[in-house]
């Protein structure tokens, strides 16, 4: 029997690859370094291109028939998938088709097969947290740095005996036939882009931070609020291409930030009360069918200013005075806003460079690069090594899923 397939990263791309391989009878090992699967998509409330809410997917726990299930519920139940949470990849040796990979598996403080999410431990100690109602595995997580007496009590009183505070990290070496890199992206923290003052004022945030604020399951119930005082934000300004298309940071266009900025602008103007949104841009790149978002946002009164920000002046009442050069009018405009949102570049996940080096594969602007850029096999990045989703560069969910399926198809063909 063939060795299993190793999939690194349990975001949308990794989960799709794992479940579809598993459903085809192939054993997979899915390694995720976080405490919950789902990756970046977990923090998004509504998703383009269909504007469906990401959560309904999880609400449907029963897999068959779900139109856009992210396969989360399958991960712990599908016998062909072995999920390694809190885990990282160590040394990789051996030849293609028989790689030997060292896994550093994090301590399993809470057994997801036993936890019923009853909430008892959450009341006993701050060390326990429920990351999100639709987290997968469906279990609370434990942070050992916050250990206290309450945690010990919870360990004793947990009705299902799911807690083991003495759990230790382990190491194991696995033999795998193929490696699928699905390590996704990271939203750049634009602390170094001086002109935007990110990190120096609480009301200057990134799009991913805004996504969390306007999420209905978030603290404010989806009301856009200012981090400085929790008061509703009435005037929001976004600025595009922060760190992207900039030779000082990332030369490429992050491809989807125009779309998600407009998605957010539309949510704010159409579904929230009385919010005014301005977008400062160089080009609006809503490729393909996404032009609809651009037209819709103009219709709903989103204000577009072609130009760049010249000056940000914080006021005592936590508002920001922002002067923008409008290159179409050749005039400077001065706005007063509550929230300033940066559409920051999407960069490779931390550790991607090391993975590329260890595997001896190509890199494209820091992301995983395909073996032959002239070929149409964009998911083939080495001999028995594949990549899918945002690990290959900024991508939306549908594209990530399509690439994951391409990987599955390649692996199935190779095993015929």
């Amino acid at each position: 029997m063939s060795n299993p397939v190793l999939i690194i990263g349990a975001g949308v791309a990794g989960m799709t690859a794992a479940v579809e391989l598993a459903d085809s009878g192939i054993k997979t090992i899915l390694v995720e370094r976080q405490e919950t699967v789902g990756g970046n998509a977990l923090d998004l409330y509504k998703a383009f291109p269909t504007d469906d809410c990401f959560y309904c997917f999880e609400g449907n726990r029963w897999r068959p028939g779900i139109r856009k299930c992210f396969y989360r519920s399958a991960l712990t139940d599908q016998p062909n998938i072995s999920l390694r949470m809190n885990s990282e990849i160590g040394d990789i040796s051996g030849a293609p088709d028989q790689f030997s990979v060292k896994l550093k598996v994090g301590p399993g403080y809470v057994n997801p097969k036993k936890c019923t999410m009853c909430g008892l431990c959450l009341e006993k100690s701050e060390a326990f947290r429920l990351l999100s109602p639709q987290c997968q595995p469906q279990a609370v997580v434990y942070d050992p740095t916050k250990a206290d007496d309450g945690a010990k009590q919870a360990e004793e009183e947990c009705p299902t005996k799911a807690i083991n505070l003495g759990a230790q990290p382990t190491e194991e070496t696995v033999q795998v036939s193929d490696i699928v890199i699905a390590t996704g992206y990271h939203e750049m923290q634009p602390v170094n882009v001086d002109e935007y003052n990110y990190g120096k004022h609480p009301n200057i945030i990134t799009q991913l931070e805004l996504a969390k604020i306007i999420d209905p399951i978030g603290e404010s119930g989806g009301v856009p609020v200012r981090p400085s005082d929790g008061k509703p934000a009435k005037r929001v300004m976004m600025v595009q291409c922060v760190g992207s298309r900039d030779e000082n940071y990332y030369p490429y266009c992050s491809k989807i930030c125009c779309i998600f900025a407009l998605k957010h602008a539309n949510i704010l103007t159409q579904e929230r009360d009385d919010v005014k949104v301005s977008v400062v841009y160089m080009d609006i790149r809503t490729y393909d069918r996404y032009e609809r978002y651009y037209r819709e946002s103009r219709n709903t009164g989103v204000e577009f200013v072609r130009g760049r920000v010249s000056l940000i002046e914080p006021r005592k009442d936590d508002t920001l005075d922002i002067t923008v050069y409008d290159s179409l009018l050749d005039k400077y405009l001065k706005f007063s806003v509550d929230l300033f949102v940066l559409s920051s570049a999407l960069e490779p996940s931390e550790g991607t460079d090391k993975l590329i080096e260890t595997l001896g594969i190509k890199s494209t602007s820091g992301f995983v690069g395909m073996v032959d850029p002239a070929s149409e096999n964009e998911v083939v990045v080495g001999d028995h090594i594949y990549a899918c989703g945002a690990a290959l560069g900024p991508a939306e969910v549908p594209e990530s899923v399509t690439q994951a399926r391409a990987v599955v198809s390649k692996i199935l063909q190779s095993r015929k």
Binding site: R298, G301, F304, E313, R315, K316, T323, L328, K331
Partner: protein, 180 residues
């Protein structure tokens, strides 16, 4: 990044920006609600209209900028601009606009709004006056041309009295009188 007091001293730079809070945010709605304004907000500032315009080269504000100023709420600037009156109403901009913005018609709307506020350039008022008094804008003067062609000196059947009477009751007359 130092905090600024509510009353700032001299600006830190030589930039003297337009205060957005002082603009008329309702202007956009005003134009939008007029018969030609439906597609106003669809404008994405591509400047096709300006590229099409045979005369904008000599204008301070180009057609795409005027539309942009309407969207931003620069009511006074737009309604007192010369450009809306200099427009040849050739409709080239409107024909070509990829977002179906009725540029020329919107400038008509602007002219109507400006006129209501008495913001009509004197030469335009002069034309109105001419029309009221003579019942026509261009009176036949070069009689020799008619003569050369063997025509009688007066245009037969031309009667401007009726028109003059009608015009007296129109807003054109109020505009001209208001100017007196």
């Amino acid at each position: 990044m130092a905090e600024t007091e509510e009353s700032t001293g001299p600006p830190a730079t030589l930039i003297d920006p337009i205060e957005m809070s002082k603009l008329d945010t309702k202007f956009r709605e005003e134009i939008h609600s007029m018969p030609n304004g439906e597609e106003l907000s669809a404008c994405f500032a591509c400047s096709t209209c300006t590229a099409a315009c045979p005369i904008a080269n000599i204008w301070k504000y180009k057609p795409h900028q005027l539309i942009r100023m309407i969207l931003l709420g620069m009511r006074d600037e737009v309604l007192s601009s010369d450009e809306i009156w200099l427009c040849l109403t050739c409709f080239q901009c409107q024909e070509r606009c990829p977002q179906k913005v009725r540029v020329t018609d919107i400038f008509f709307d602007c002219k109507n709004l400006a006129a209501e506020e008495g913001k009509v350039p004197p030469n335009i008022v002069g034309l109105g006056k001419e029309l009221l008094e003579k019942g026509q804008l261009y009176t036949v003067t070069a009689d020799w041309e008619r003569e050369d062609m063997g025509l009688e000196p007066d245009v037969p059947g031309l009667s401007v009295d009726g028109l003059r009477n009608i015009l007296k009751e129109t807003r054109t007359s109020k505009l001209v009188d208001g100017d007196k």
